[in-house]
Amino acid sequence: MASITLNRIVKTYDDGFTAVKGVDLDIADGEFVILVGPSGCGKSTLLRMIVGLEDISDGELKIDDEVVNDKAPKDRNLAMVFQNYALYPHLTVYENIAFPMRLKSSDLDDKEIDERVRKASKLLELDEHLERKPANLSGGQRQRVAMGRAIVRNASAFLFDEPLSNLDAKLRGQMRTEIARLQRSLGITTVYVTHDQTEAMTLGDRVAVLRRGELQQVASPRGLYDQPVNLFVAGFIGSPPMNFLSGTVDGDMLRLPIADVPLDDRLRAAVEGRDLVIVGIRPDAFEDADATERDLVGGVTAELDIEMTEWLGEVLYAYVPYDTDETVKDKLSELDRDLDGESLRTELVVALDAMSAIRAGDAARLWFSPDSLHLFDPESGVNLTRDETKAEKLEEDARAARKRALERAKERQAKEQQRA
């Protein structure tokens, strides 16, 4: 077990392209950290630098206070699960798992090796497959073998490089829970790269969002969702993504394409001197004013034409086209490109109660609270409404939750040892 410290890490390739531009990140012992971002944001490069498969151009990488920049991968004692599993096809499952312990650097005898392989295979339910070759295994089984190979090492940390992206949707969900359970029970430091935000939100103690090689924000999943630092993080986290509208300040009113919102103290402080802001609203901030049982005081109600609806059983998505202001259009389409999107038209996505009677073509009365609005600077993209105290509170809660989980894991381990 170990902590990992990244100190202004830079990766510049031989052709001059800088993939990672000075990333600072402290990963505490036992923490589960996710590196997330759209394709080409440098997340995989960063992971490969931690494990030692890419050279570090500049900056300092420490594992447990020891600088490891120039150490070979084998001397870093990290275990990695590759995107395509990288199982050794000429070896059986048993030998695949035993591989790290059969190397020169390991001085375990056959009995100890056998014990560890059996323990890992039991944990991962691979017992009946031990004598098979990887070619005869299903995707999920291969994935588990790759994890087995990582576990037996007693490595300082686990590194995962998009381990679930080759699995189909159902299996992905199951393996996701499996990885979370494993990490919690082993309590081992884990860095996990993904572009899937469901994985990012559900697995991580903390999530680091990267954009074009730069770290945007590191926070707990709740912190990212509620208190994003900028437009990019706000747009990246959440599915369906946050809606972005232009907001023109007109006296004590904020005029949006869909409604006029009276400025309250929070919003007034945020706009301060600006004529134009980008307004972000989460799809789930809306309520169907005619169907909800909530008390709709103090909010804003807008009459909107619903163009499309998607009913998914537990939620109803409604799509509302609107005209965006020319001045923020460029900024928003740039953001869209950053997020790998290609939206052709500007439309508002609204998540409503599945019981709502709204259908495509209806005119609906939608209600939202001004408290749910995020305001962003149209130039820099900085979140103007971010509440530092609230954000700090969320992080503290997350830290406390993680501490509890680790303590529980230790207790469980102690109990198991007593029994054994």
Binding site: K74, Y88, F99
Partner: protein, 282 residues
Amino acid sequence: MRAMTWPQRITWIVIIAVVLVWSLFPVFSIAMTSFKTPAGLFSGTLLPEEWTLDNYATILAPGGSAQDLFLPALRNSIGISLIATFIAVVLATLCAYAIARLDFPGKRIILTTALAVSVFPIVSIVTPLFNLWRVVGLYDTWLGLIIPYLSLTLPISIWTLAAFFRQIPWELEQAAQVDGATPFEAFRKTVVPLAAPGVFTTAIIAFFIAWNDFVYGISLTSTDAARPVPAALSFFTGASQFEEPTGAISAAAIVVTIPIVIVVVIFQRRIVSGLTQGAVKG
């Protein structure tokens, strides 16, 4: 695979039969000739009318008239071909591994040069080589043949092996390194077992090329010291000047085919492709 219909099956059987007859009939014919008596050579029948082992005795048995021509040549051929194959495979393995794995300037040049060398006609360089070898003292030596054989076997070995190495996922080596292996250990434990079929295939091809060469063999040698079998065969003579050495040549041809058959049979099981299946999802 989809089950074949009857007409398809029959077509295939016919094609296979034609190919087998086409390629094996000459071998069979030579084998039969090798068992004929000098008088029976011109009988015009495929099978010998009178079976004899005299031709084999001529080239192999002590006191046989062609024995002192054939046995040294056989020794030369085996020795020179094996050494040339071994050097070619070792060098080509290292070269192909670098080409497949590393990005270095001049990578393309190496590959195109290798290709250019292999298409270069042997006949056009054999005369200058003959003069050069006589000057530097390599004429009629093993080394004098191994070097030109390397120029024949290296290019094709590099190309085949580079193709093989490219198939092996690089992640395997990286995974091994992360698992705690030194770069050499990673190479030996992951790449070598997976590349083995490719290396054996290459070795067999290289061995054939060296084994079958005639032009260098006849031009760069003059005595028993280095003359390989294909060249030695042309020096066979009959018992008298009116007798053709066809029988002895046929027997020698059969004898030199045997090592090749043995090599292929031994390595055939190792030349199994599809070994990399299942390494990564695919």
